[in-house]
């Protein structure tokens, strides 16, 4: 310890600890994955708010504009984007319900939290698949 601090010229009181900032060597636990996805999907949903308002206003303004919006939503690329956004919504929704459950002290042990994390991930993908079938059939 003494030798080590001399070698790296640590300030007094500073501990010499191994540093590992390579994110690729860190395995994210499933609870952390659900949590960070909840945050990321929240940001995505915030960013598309103006698009939603624009589409709503345009589709309600006249029959012609309505048809334009429908045509836009029918293009395959937009459909894929729509599915991505739908997944963001579903994941944020289910992960949010999970957070609310934990706020009232439900499913808070590590094993249960891991289990509900899996449920949230599966439900998000499942809901997106149902929508995918709906919009491609």
């Amino acid at each position: 310890m003494q030798k080590d601090s001399q070698k790296t010229k640590l300030r007094p009181g500073q501990l010499s600890r191994p540093k590992n900032l390579n994110l690729f060597t860190i395995r994210l636990p499933i609870n952390a994955l659900v949590s960070i996805l909840h945050r990321a999907t929240g940001c995505v949903l915030f960013l598309i708010l103006p698009v939603i308002l624009l589409l709503l206003q345009f589709s309600l303004s006249s029959a012609q504009h309505y048809e334009t919006v429908i045509a836009i939503l029918h293009s395959p690329f937009i459909k894929l984007m729509l599915l991505g956004l739908a997944w963001a919504f579903f994941h944020h929704f289910f992960a949010g319900i999970r957070h609310l459950a934990m706020d009232v002290h439900w499913m808070t042990t590590l094993m249960k939290a891991r289990y509900t994390s899996k449920v949230v991930l599966v439900l998000g993908v499942l809901a997106t698949l149902v929508l995918a079938v709906k919009i491609w059939m």
Binding site: R39, G42, C43, L45, F46, L49, P50, L53, L56, Q57, S59, L60, S62, A63, Y66, E67, F93, G96, I97, L100, D103
Partner: protein, 114 residues
């Protein structure tokens, strides 16, 4: 006890509860909106306009949108707090956030009630 926690002395507690209450409002509306969409199945322009015609639905949608703006404000503000260490940059971002959410709120109100 609860009322005391929500006063100005505990702003973090107030933000925490507001985040959850707005989430509940949005969750209930979302389930309801999907169900109503599946039942009504608005497949034409007229049906789509009719879907947004009832006043109770417009008010419910506006309530959803108000909750959404509050929820997004608290959520994105937390993201800035975590990832933007520079206080002056964060201050600018916070102000941009508030301005954009007010624009969305006024826009939605005008769309639904105007």
């Amino acid at each position: 006890m609860l009322i005391e926690l929500l006063t100005k002395r505990y702003p973090g507690m107030r933000a925490w509860l507001t985040q959850r209450l707005s989430a509940l409002v949005m969750a209930v509306y979302s389930v309801f909106a999907v169900a109503r969409f599946l039942i009504v199945q608005p497949n034409s322009y007229e049906a789509w306009v009719d879907f947004f015609q009832p006043l109770w639905w417009r008010i419910a949608t506006l309530l959803f949108w108000i909750s959404l703006c509050i929820h997004a404000w608290l959520g994105i503000r937390d993201v800035f707090k975590d990832y933007v260490p520079n206080p002056s940059v964060r201050d600018v971002l916070d102000k941009l956030l508030v301005v954009s959410l007010w624009v969305y709120l006024v826009w939605a109100t005008w769309l639904l009630l105007g």
